[in-house]
């Protein structure tokens, strides 16, 4: 509804006000005449009419309205395209990545500003200022409310997918605080991924991202024990993984892998799905996972991907091959998983003193309480 109204007003603040007014009208009218057959459509129509009235007023006040809009179109279901327009507006590359995420939560998902602030562990005033600045830039720089042109779509879609991915990973392992998972973020991210997939059925990376999130979602419940302790893949109860979600992800991956070289999200989803399909860690198809990591490293040459590839390599060729691959990495000294991965390889090689030093290094970098507890136990076990 907000998306449909924004298209008329071309102004986010005005649209939010108009939507509020529509709700007020609904409360008065519905109390008197009863709830209409299609309350959503009723509200959208009223909001749109209010927006048009507002614009007509503004037009008589100003001799020339700078953001004059197209003639109002016939009433049709405005939703899918408008939501997509709103997503692409919020994820426009002229906005900073944090502004993109905040705006998407606020305007596409309707999360209240204090809750957005809470999710990102910043003061409410900071988040409010960030959102206001971004909205101002949309209005004053005239960032269009439009689905990008065909030639711009891949790059723009990638920004939108990154925002959803970031949203999910922020919720999946909270960067700090006491809970490992922030359900409100993972749920929003999954909704958005489903929406992008539904709105852009031909975009294979949108399918890949949805599949990736579905596999993570299928395993989410088993990532911690009853006391909130982090469980490794090997310790998780595979019987409790959600087979329906994994099956849904598989179907998406098979479709996305069928043509042309797959992109980053499709490959990540394929790796996650292989883990999810294995009856146990030992029976995981590590050689196939290593092949997928090699492909992923080609389309997304990142040190973090290389670190994950080293874990697969250790399973295929042994911990010394994994350790050599990890020690060849550069620029990850501040990354806690580098140290915990090294620690694991070193322990498997019987180099316990070095393993303990590496666990201690990882512990010093971890800020999430569940992760800290996990690493502390590993360190104590080794001693």
């Amino acid at each position: 509804m907000l998306a449909a109204t924004v298209r008329v007003t071309r102004d986010l603040d005005a649209a939010e006000e108009v939507v509020q007014d529509a709700y007020v009208q609904a409360l008065e009218r519905w109390a008197r005449d009863g709830v209409p057959a299609k309350p959503g459509a009723w509200l959208t129509t009223v909001a749109r009419r209010l927006a048009l009235n507002r614009l007509a007023r503004a037009k008589t006040l100003a001799t020339k309205l700078p953001l004059l809009l197209d003639a109002p179109e016939a009433e049709a279901d405005p939703l899918p395209d408008d939501r997509l327009r709103l997503v692409f507006t919020c994820c426009h590359p002229a906005l900073s990545r944090e502004a993109q995420v905040a705006l998407t939560l606020r305007l596409v998902c309707g999360v209240a500003t204090p809750d957005v602030a809470h999710a990102f562990l910043v003061p409410e005033a900071t988040m409010a200022a960030r959102i206001t600045r971004a909205k101002k830039k949309i209005a004053r720089a005239r960032i269009p409310y439009a689905i990008p042109a065909q030639e711009d779509l891949p790059a723009r879609l990638d920004a939108a997918l990154s925002v959803v991915y970031l949203l999910y990973t922020t919720g999946h392992t909270a960067p700090a605080g006491d809970a490992l998972v922030r359900d409100e973020l993972t749920t929003r991210a999954l909704d958005l991924a489903r929406m992008l997939r539904a709105l852009l059925p031909a975009a294979r990376e949108a399918a890949g991202l949805l599949a990736l999130l579905l596999v993570h979602e299928a395993r989410r419940e088993t990532r911690t024990d009853a006391s909130g302790r982090l469980l490794r893949l090997a310790e998780q109860d595979r019987g409790r993984w959600d087979r329906a979600l994994i099956g849904e992800a598989d179907a998406l991956i098979v479709g996305a892998l069928r043509s042309a070289p797959p992109g980053r999200y499709v490959l990540q989803a394929a790796i996650a799905a292989l883990h999810a399909q294995a009856p146990s860690v030992a029976e995981t198809d590590w050689p196939q996972i290593l092949v997928l990591y090699d492909a992923l490293l080609r389309v997304w040459p990142s040190a973090v991907v290389a670190l994950n590839r080293a874990v697969a390599l250790a399973e295929v060729e042994g911990p010394d091959a994994g350790l050599a691959a990890v020690d060849a990495l550069e620029g990850l000294d501040g990354y806690r998983y580098l140290h915990s991965t090294r620690a694991d390889f070193l322990r498997r090689l019987g180099r316990h003193a070095e393993a303990d030093a590496a666990y201690a290094a990882a512990l010093a970098l971890a800020e999430n309480i569940a992760e800290r507890a996990f690493l502390a136990v590993e360190l104590a076990d080794g001693a």
Partner: protein, 110 residues
């Protein structure tokens, strides 16, 4: 249509621009028009050393910048929205550096 300033940041002073870059500057208005925009004005700055700075009542001989890139000139363009402005600004020939696009307030409307 809305107006945008396109700032050109360059390491190379205008008088040392390669011939093909100069030619690209000459060709730019036509290309912009073909894409549905318009160049309102375009100008290059003299060397950064020619700047005189005013701060309060004090006059000094320049900003003493040791930056790698300096503002070399600007275009004022008309475009439908930011995406259109960015597409037009991408036509700007630059030797080494880049451009920045900034919306302009239209005081006639205010």
């Amino acid at each position: 249509m809305a107006q945008y300033a396109v700032f050109m940041f360059e390491r190379v002073p205008p008088e040392e621009l390669p011939a093909e870059v100069m030619q690209a500057h000459m060709d730019m208005p036509e290309k912009v028009t073909a894409l549905g925009g318009r160049i309102v004005a375009g100008m290059a700055f003299e060397d950064v050393g020619t700047t005189t700075a005013i701060r309060g009542d004090e006059l000094t001989d320049g900003p003493f910048l040791e930056t790698k890139e300096v503002l070399g000139g600007l275009f004022i363009i008309e475009a439908r929205d930011l995406d259109h402005a960015l597409a037009l600004a991408k036509l700007t020939p630059i030797v080494e550096g880049g451009v920045e696009v900034r919306p302009l307030l239209d005081f006639q409307v205010l």
